[in-house]
């Protein structure tokens, strides 16, 4: 399983700044596991990462500064992050959430 | 080209207006038409000063980073200086404008060019700019309200002689104590 093989597109939502991921139906979801996965730059249905990233860049009203990052995919299909940054973006500020709730 | 400029007389509201004005920002190699407003770079001015003085309707065009002291000698011969902002975040043009107004006593038109955006207009005006060409694609009319965002300011600048704490209905000060030119350099330009 190559670390750089799979990608997802992410951004922060304009209304509240929350972390969102591009889903298959071109909506934005807060659930990392529901992100649309690109395999070496293309989706199963043949849409390209570059193309959808360009499209995402136009959704200015809805999201800010979209970009893509590399993910890994377990045998069960579950997505995993490869960097501390994306892991924490997906999980939230764990220590603080534990103390102040809203986990 | 549309520019924003201070409305005359200055006591009308709105104080700023959008007008049509033609002005050729001539490249150094470009021949000048025999009439009409043009601007030239400092290098060209240095090379062709006599011809340019004879022609008239010539303004100076400089980057904000250039020290106004480098062209103070040109100021008596021009009534338009354009300061270029390569990026809105390059704040050197603000200091240059204040120096032109407050230190070198320049009273001609001071115009901002380049990456000029709505939310910088107020600061620019306070530093002494009285004319603006908005960045490409920006609507000058929609930008006019920027000048009305604030009615008060704390510090003295090119547009205001006294700091707020000396204006705020306190006894014991007189407007005539201060000129708009730096203390020691009055009239030196």
């Amino acid at each position: 399983m190559s670390g750089e093989k799979f990608q997802v597109i992410t951004a922060n939502r304009t209304d509240d700044g929350y972390v969102v991921y591009l889903a298959a139906d071109r909506s934005w979801t807060t659930s990392f596991q529901d992100a649309l996965v690109f395999d070496s730059g293309a989706t199963d249905s043949g849409e390209s990462l570059d193309g959808l990233l360009a499209w995402a860049g136009l959704q200015q009203r809805d999201v800010c500064d979209p970009y893509f990052f590399a993910v890994e995919r377990g045998d069960d299909g579950a997505l995993g992050t490869l960097s501390a940054r994306e892991r924490i973006r997906a999980a939230g500020p764990e220590a603080t959430l534990r103390v102040w709730g809203y986990a | 080209m549309e520019i924003i400029r201070k409305a005359t007389p200055t006591d009308t509201v709105p104080r700023w207006e959008v007008v049509q004005e033609d002005c050729v920002h001539a490249e150094d190699s470009q021949a000048l038409a025999s009439s009409g407003q043009v601007t030239v770079t400092l290098e060209r001015w240095r090379a062709e000063a006599d011809a340019l003085k004879a022609r008239g309707q010539v303004g100076l065009r400089v980057l904000g980073e250039v020290d106004p002291g480098d062209y103070a000698d040109v100021l008596p011969h021009v009534d338009l200086v354009c300061i270029q902002f390569p990026k809105f975040a390059d704040g050197r043009g603000y200091s240059a404008a204040r120096l032109l107004r407050e230190r070198y006593g320049f009273t001609g038109t001071l115009r901002a060019l380049g990456d000029v955006l709505r939310d910088q207009l107020n600061y620019m005006a306070r530093c002494g700019f009285d004319s603006f060409v908005m960045a490409p694609g920006k609507d000058p009319r929609a930008s006019l309200s920027a000048f009305e965002d604030f009615s008060e300011s704390y510090q003295p600048a090119a547009d205001e002689v006294l700091p707020l704490w000396r204006r705020a209905s306190l006894p014991g000060f007189s407007l005539s104590d201060f000129s708009k030119v730096d203390g020691n350099r009055e009239g030196a330009a």
Binding site: D16, E94 | A89
Partner: protein
């Protein structure tokens, strides 16, 4: 404290309205994020990892109880019931919705607060000594000068787009508790040869990628020239500071590359032009601002005023030894007899350093009213000071603080950790700071163990930007990124006090799981090396150098 006049009031209200319009244009899709970014940043609104973050200015850290209540209300109404005190005496909300921010600014304006210039390449909130106005070692109260600087720098039209952000700190005391030598401009009130009080200017200090301790470029500037001299420095910086590389854009790089003397000369030259202009302060300009910071009316005591010593000998003193530890550690003398200044520790094992809930903020307001003449001060170590407490009221105050969890007697001790938000929140971070701070403090909950270490500071930053001041902690921890994995460098020997110094990296970086051990080893090494319990960690390190610490920390790897 300073009270807004109608003009101050108008300015903050117009600002809130202006931002309301900008937000409306953003939410309607009229402006793009790229265009909106510089606008929201000028109002302290960042996009962090998980949400927007709003940074509210607390000028020189001073808060009234009414302001504390408003901050609590905002946390409760628009955020997730908590907020975070920063290392620059500000407060941050981590979860505001964009459409709510204009409303928050309006609410803040009601209590004379705002978020103006809490980010962006402009002059930021002015910081000062947390004991300003009550410190015994103070030549003069620095806050009127902070306030004058605040007014002068607010929406300064010439300095809104500096090469980089710009931070002032001012102190009036002999002991530097405001870290003035690691600021862009540090101002110290000093007494001149003839006894008059003036200002010493330190310029070009700072942390970040290239940390410097600021040189003094002018040992005595008359008070009347606070603003003219500052304007001259800013103008030189605005014109000559580098703009081609954001890592070389701070004024420290300019001062370093020109040389302090040449820089001072350039400032002097600029100053000659403007020093006699209208920014020069007249006696009455200073007097008017000073009148807002006049001493409160301290009640007169019958006979001699009670002292901490007399309290400790009296039967009023609670028998719990924790009270004595708290008095020894968190209570300092006051220039008025019968009074003390009390530091509340916002650092607990279970809490992220500097975090407070809405209920905490309300409780602080209530306590400030009953024990501290309605005022509290946020410190750059992310704690809170009650500046005006009667000695006789220490026992009940201690009891109430103990219940709230703010009476931990750990000020300037290892567990009084400074930590920036780090990778839990911050977009620029390489590694998390908060869990590391919590893990290290967990190990030193035993007070005896803690006190054995004497006074020692531990500062943690999640990246080289150094918001956690790691270079000037006696121990500093810096988060770095190694191929997507968080790592931590340990540095030793920093200080932000009068003998300011920059810490040195000890050796290779540690993982999240190793760093607490490394810190503990360095501390044990110190205990073995010190000549007596009176020799502090810093003094020991300065005496013996890094090698023994290296051996102790890396030896058995």
């Amino acid at each position: 404290m300073y009270q807004y006049n109608e003009f101050d009031q108008k300015i903050v209200r117009q600002r809130a309205a202006q931002f309301g319009d900008q937000v409306r244009r953003r939410l309607s899709g009229e402006v793009t994020e790229n265009e909106f970014k510089p606008l929201r940043l000028q109002n302290g609104l960042y996009m962090q990892l998980h949400a927007y973050m709003l940074r509210v200015a607390i000028p020189y850290g001073l808060l009234s109880s009414a302001q504390l209540r408003k901050l609590a209300h905002i946390a409760r109404t628009y955020d997730r019931d908590y907020a975070h005190f920063t290392t620059r005496q500000n407060i941050q909300y981590n979860w505001p919705k964009l459409q709510d921010v204009p409303k928050i600014l309006e609410e803040l304006a009601e209590v004379e607060m705002h978020a103006i210039q809490t980010s962006g390449n402009c002059i930021r909130n002015i910081t000062s000594d947390p004991f300003a106005g009550v410190a015994r070692d103070e030549i003069e109260d620095p806050r009127p000068y902070c306030e004058l600087l605040r007014q002068w720098s607010t929406f300064h039209p010439e300095f809104a787009y500096l090469p980089r952000k710009f931070k002032f700190a001012v102190t009036g005391a002999e002991e530097d508790r405001a870290a003035i030598q690691v600021h862009d401009i540090g101002i110290r009130l000093v007494r001149g040869e003839d006894g008059t009080v003036g200002l010493a200017f330190y310029v070009g200090g700072g942390l970040g990628r290239t940390p410097f301790v600021a040189p003094c470029i002018q040992p005595f500037v008359p008070k009347a020239h606070l603003l003219t001299y500052s304007e001259a420095i800013l103008r030189v910086y605005n014109r000559l500071g580098r703009r081609d590389n954001m890592y070389k854009a701070r004024i420290k790089i300019l001062v370093k590359s020109m040389g302090a003397e040449a820089f001072a000369h350039a400032v002097e030259e600029e100053w000659q032009y403007i020093k006699d202009g209208p920014l020069q302060l007249r006696e009455q300009d200073i007097a008017r601002v000073k009148s807002y910071f006049q001493e409160p009316e301290y009640p007169v005591f019958q006979g001699t005023a009670p002292t901490v010593e007399s309290l400790m000998l009296s039967k009023e003193k609670p028998s719990d030894p924790a009270f004595s530890a708290w008095v020894d550690n968190n209570v300092v003398g006051h220039r008025k007899p019968g009074y003390v200044a009390v530091s509340l520790s916002m650092k607990r094992e279970t809490l992220p350093p500097g975090d407070v809930t809405d209920n905490h903020l309300d409780a602080l307001a209530d306590l400030a009213d009953r024990y501290s003449m309605g005022e509290a001060v946020v410190t750059h170590r992310q704690n809170v000071v009650f500046p005006n407490v009667q000695v006789a009221l220490l026992p009940p105050l201690w009891e109430e603080l103990t219940q709230l969890g703010f009476a931990t007697p750990n000020l300037q001790r290892l567990t009084d950790v400074i930590a920036c938000p780090g990778l839990d929140f911050c977009n620029l971070a390489n590694a998390r700071s908060i869990p590391v701070a919590m893990r290290i403090t967990e190990r030193f909950q035993d007070l005896e163990k803690l006190y054995e270490l004497g006074q020692v500071t531990l500062n943690i930053s999640g990246c080289i930007n150094a918001c956690g001041h790691h270079h000037v902690g006696n121990l500093g921890v810096l988060g770095i990124d190694k191929l997507g994995v968080e790592h931590y460098q340990l540095m030793l020997g920093g200080s932000s006090a009068n003998d300011a110094s920059i810490g040195k990296i000890l050796g290779k970086a540690f993982t999240e799981h190793e760093i607490a051990d490394a810190v503990e080893k360095a501390l044990l090494c110190y205990i073995g090396l010190r000549t007596s319990p009176q020799e502090s960690f810093l003094a020991t390190y300065r005496r013996v150098g890094a090698q023994p610490f290296k051996d102790a920390v890396y030896g058995d790897h």
